[in-house]
């Protein structure tokens, strides 16, 4: 008998069917990967299981017994534990306090610390989840916090563990650690649902894969029979073209940075950076977050105007600290965080598309009054050209999925055919379909003759897309060598602050 069974679960939000008659089983001791693009209905399904939503149709069975709908308490009692993508821990409490929080009766006079401590020690030993129970949560690393979240679920006697995008915040090493923990949990008889949209992780950790598309299960298959391209196609619904870099002869220098330095900011202050990017060229910057990439991006996008050294765009000095002048001089900017920097979620799509050139004659009269007719017409063209899925120019931006929002940013940045493109983490948090779209757009721009600076923490992405790669560490930038001139291991060492070039020589 399966420990968990979804039977014909349907959930509608207005006209949108978030889950369409989903039937799914989970057996004891297995890791089931729930795979799907953003918006495919993974999180909705788990929220129904956990009682945050009520299904319109269908039933969930735990150990063969139907689970009362809409009750988080009932789900916990039945042995379902959830580890959310964004942790739900109180930073000012200790590990032990976080774990016992909410489990004790409000009417008891004192905390049952001793028994809790013993139970925690048992769990830590049985599952290999060692965490200091008296450590303050705010002082733990991200990986450790996730372990606390898992312990929190286990402490409530969870036998079915739901992990929602658990690796989104982890480094590759921490992810490996998590996978080992999951293996030991399933060996003890727990069942795990692992929600993700990252193919390689799912292939590494799961026993079975269920693919969700537009709310419906499009297939279930054993991981050992699965093949990367096949799953990607099931997920997206069509063949995905992976980006390929065709060799091109670089043209004239577009961006020339000489001796760029900034003050303040500790490890992230820029220290004497030199970099030249030519037409038809993508140069990647590898590095661990917080080593100066953001400051460099801020200088190039006009957010930071005080710096020493020279930055020239096709020979002319950069309009330091003036974003709109920089955009007007032919720069396309893709910001690191599309919610905090890229888009105003509460404004309409057409309004976001004119934000960079609102005072230009193209969309306003005398730079004072918005020419809504022309702005909307232009937005319609951009939406069509960049395949943004939305109801139209008047749609509210925050209702768009992550991938569509990123397409909107691409539409704003690329439709003016900029000669230099700053792409800061352009595919972070996107699903496979959207990633391929964004990367192909960047390659098209390179074909056209743009110079592109790609900042990423994902080495695989840089290796696949870049003509040359430089490494940033403690605000210093290494020489940008052709991709392939350094191995991933060498780049890794340089990211950690060791001079890989010298060691190699």
């Amino acid at each position: 008998m399966p420990v968990l069974e979804f039977s014909g679960v349907t959930k509608r939000f207005g006209t949108l069917t978030a889950n369409d008659s989903v039937s799914l089983t989970l057996e004891q001791g297995e890791v089931l990967a729930l795979l799907g693009e953003n918006g495919a209905g993974k999180t909705t399904l788990m929220n129904i299981l956990f009682g945050h939503y009520q299904a319109d149709e269908g039933t969930i069975f735990v150990d063969g017994k139907p689970l009362p709908p809409g009750s988080t308490q009932a789900a916990i009692k039945a042995g379902v534990g959830m580890v959310h993508q964004h942790f739900t821990l109180a930073g000012n409490l200790t590990v032990l306090e976080n774990i016992t929080l909410g489990t004790e009766s409000l009417w008891s006079w004192r905390q049952e610390t001793r028994t809790a401590r013993e139970k925690l020690a048992d769990m830590a030993r049985d599952y290999g989840l060692a965490v200091d129970p008296d450590a303050q949560v705010s002082e733990l690393s991200v990986g450790e916090r996730q372990r606390v979240e898992i312990l929190k679920a286990l402490y409530r006697n969870a036998r079915i563990l739901i992990l929602d995008e658990p690796t989104a915040v982890l480094t590759p090493q921490e992810s490996e650690g998590l996978f080992a923990i999951l293996k030991s949990l399933t060996a003890k008889g727990l069942a795990v649902v692992f929600i993700s949209h990252k193919l390689h992780e799912i292939l590494a950790v799961s026993d079975r894969i269920a693919v969700l598309r537009r709310g419906a299960i499009v297939g279930t298959l054993a991981t050992k029979d699965a093949d990367r391209a096949q799953i990607a196609e099931m997920m997206v619904g069509r063949a995905v073209t992976l980006p390929r870099l065709t060799p091109m002869e670089p043209g004239a220098a577009m961006l020339e940075i000489e001796g760029l330095s900034t003050t303040g900011g500790g490890a992230s202050a820029l220290r004497n950076i030199d970099l030249t990017i030519r037409a038809h060229e993508i140069v990647g910057i590898a590095g661990v977050a917080g080593n100066g990439q953001r400051i460099l991006a801020d200088v190039l996008s006009g957010l930071k105007g005080d710096f020493a050294g020279s930055v020239r765009l096709h020979g002319k000095s950069l309009a330091a600290g003036r974003p709109r002048a920089i955009v007007a001089s032919g720069v396309g900017r893709i910001p690191e965080d599309r919610h905090a920097r890229g888009m105003v979620g509460d404004m309409e799509v057409w309004e976001n598309l004119i934000s960079e050139d609102i005072r230009s004659r193209e969309v306003s009269r005398w730079g004072l009054i918005i020419d809504r007719k022309r702005a909307t017409a232009r937005a319609e063209r951009q939406i069509a050209e960049f395949d943004v899925r939305c109801e139209g120019p008047d749609a509210e931006t925050k209702l768009l999925s992550g991938g569509n929002m990123q397409k909107l940013i691409l539409a704003r940045a690329l439709s003016r055919e900029p000669s230099f493109i700053l792409a800061n983490q352009p595919v972070r948090g996107l699903d496979e379909g959207a990633i391929a779209y964004v990367q192909n757009r960047l390659l098209e721009a390179r074909q056209r003759g743009a110079a592109i600076l790609l900042i990423s923490e994902d080495l695989d992405e840089l290796m696949a897309l870049c003509d040359r790669i430089a490494v940033m560490s403690h605000g210093k930038l290494s020489e940008a060598l052709p991709t392939g001139a350094r191995t991933i291991a060498e780049i890794g060492l340089m990211m950690a602050g060791q001079d890989g070039d010298r060691q190699a020589a």
């Binding site: 006209t15 009520q54 809409g70 974003p323 905090a340 509460d346 934000s355 009054i369 918005i370």
Partner: protein, 350 residues
């Protein structure tokens, strides 16, 4: 009980939210009225009659709504940019001070010029009062709620000093009041009877103007963008500090115009009871209007009706006028709840 976001919010539902809120507030205050031993229908009937029951009542209600439209607009504009101006009361008095300084004989112009001139200097004075708070906010991140609120008391004490001292009208028989605004500067009455004056027309025009500015102009776009997401606004090249400063000046200016309108339109001279808290009630107006500049007009008339009507009600039956303050306060709370409920729905577990 489960609270879940509504998949879509219809315009009708969003628009009706304040109406439901007002009904809820009336229902809640009915409990207090019941407590006083009066019949609830009678009380609300008298309140309604006092506000709208006669030409005189309507005239009074509209007259009272004029300063509320101005201060409501001032707050609505500022809050839209997430600049929390709690100082409309002080800015109103700053406007009144300017109207008194320039309007009591220092300058004499024909009325067509004198009235706009007084409005402009009042607006400048109201805006000027916000310069320090807004610069403290944009330069040093000092919380504007604190600075604008505290400046209210500074201005009130200044007014008190001036009308007790150097500006005291020698003809006032010892009452603490400033000299009267000269005839050329007085806002003419709109009707033969009653106190309704030109201020209403100016207030309505200001509402339409501010609405159009927020909706159609580049400046309005920038104010909204800064309010919704300052980070994204900055990235797209909007000068966030400059936008906040301009917003503050507009907001202070509108509140200052309320002071001019009350001094030159209603009272004729500056006293310490020029405003029974119009600046603070403006916050309630703006919240009721959900920061919409056109919504400010019905919201101001409603709150004005509550105050005028409850005055009449308390004269007729034994209910203190404080019921008006309670009703206004409960209305604002109810609006906040009903706006939430228009975006989320509550379902009871079955």
């Amino acid at each position: 009980m489960i609270i879940e976001p509504r998949p879509s919010v219809s315009v009708l539902r969003a628009g009706l939210a304040p109406v439901w809120a007002i009904l809820a507030a009336l229902a809640l205050c009915a409990v207090l009225i019941f407590w006083t031993g009066t019949s609830i229908p009678t009380a609300y009937f008298l309140l309604f009659k006092g506000a709208f029951g006669s030409a005189f009542a309507i005239n009074e209600t509209l007259t009272r709504s004029i300063p509320l439209i101005f201060t409501g607009l001032a707050v609505a504009v500022a809050f839209r940019a997430k600049f929390y101006n709690i100082g409309a009361e002080g800015q109103l008095y700053a406007g009144a001070l300017a109207a008194t300084y320039f309007g009591t004989g220092m300058i004499t112009l024909p009325p067509v010029l004198m009235i706009p001139f007084l409005m402009i200097v009042g607006a400048l004075a109201g805006g000027a009062l916000l310069i320090v708070p807004v610069l403290l906010k944009t330069r040093m991140k000092v919380d504007e709620v604190v600075t604008t609120l505290l400046l209210n008391f500074v201005v009130l004490l200044l007014v008190s000093y001036l009308i007790e001292g150097p500006w005291k009208d020698p003809m006032s028989l010892g009452w603490p009041q400033a000299a009267a605004v000269i005839d050329e500067g007085v806002l003419p009455p709109l009707l033969a009877k009653g106190r309704l004056h030109l201020g209403l027309v100016i207030a309505l025009a200001a509402s339409v103007l501010i609405w159009a500015m927020m909706r159609f102009s580049v400046l309005g776009y920038e104010i909204r963008a800064v309010g919704y997401n300052a980070g994204a606004a900055e990235f797209s090249g909007i000068n966030v500090s400059r936008t906040v400063i301009i917003t503050a000046l507009i907001s202070g200016g509108l509140a200052g115009m309320a002071g001019v309108s009350e001094t030159a339109g209603l009272k004729g001279y500056l006293t310490l009871d020029l405003s029974p808290g119009f600046g603070y009630t403006g916050i309630a107006v703006a919240m009721l209007a959900q920061l919409n500049p056109l919504g400010v007009i019905p919201a101001a008339i409603f709150l004005s009706a509550v105050y005028v009507g409850s005055d009449a009600m308390s004269r007729a039956i034994n209910i203190p006028t404080y019921i008006a303050d309670v009703l206004v306060g409960v209305s604002v709370l109810a609006v906040l709840c009903s706006v939430m409920l228009s975006q989320y729905r509550v379902r009871w577990r079955t």
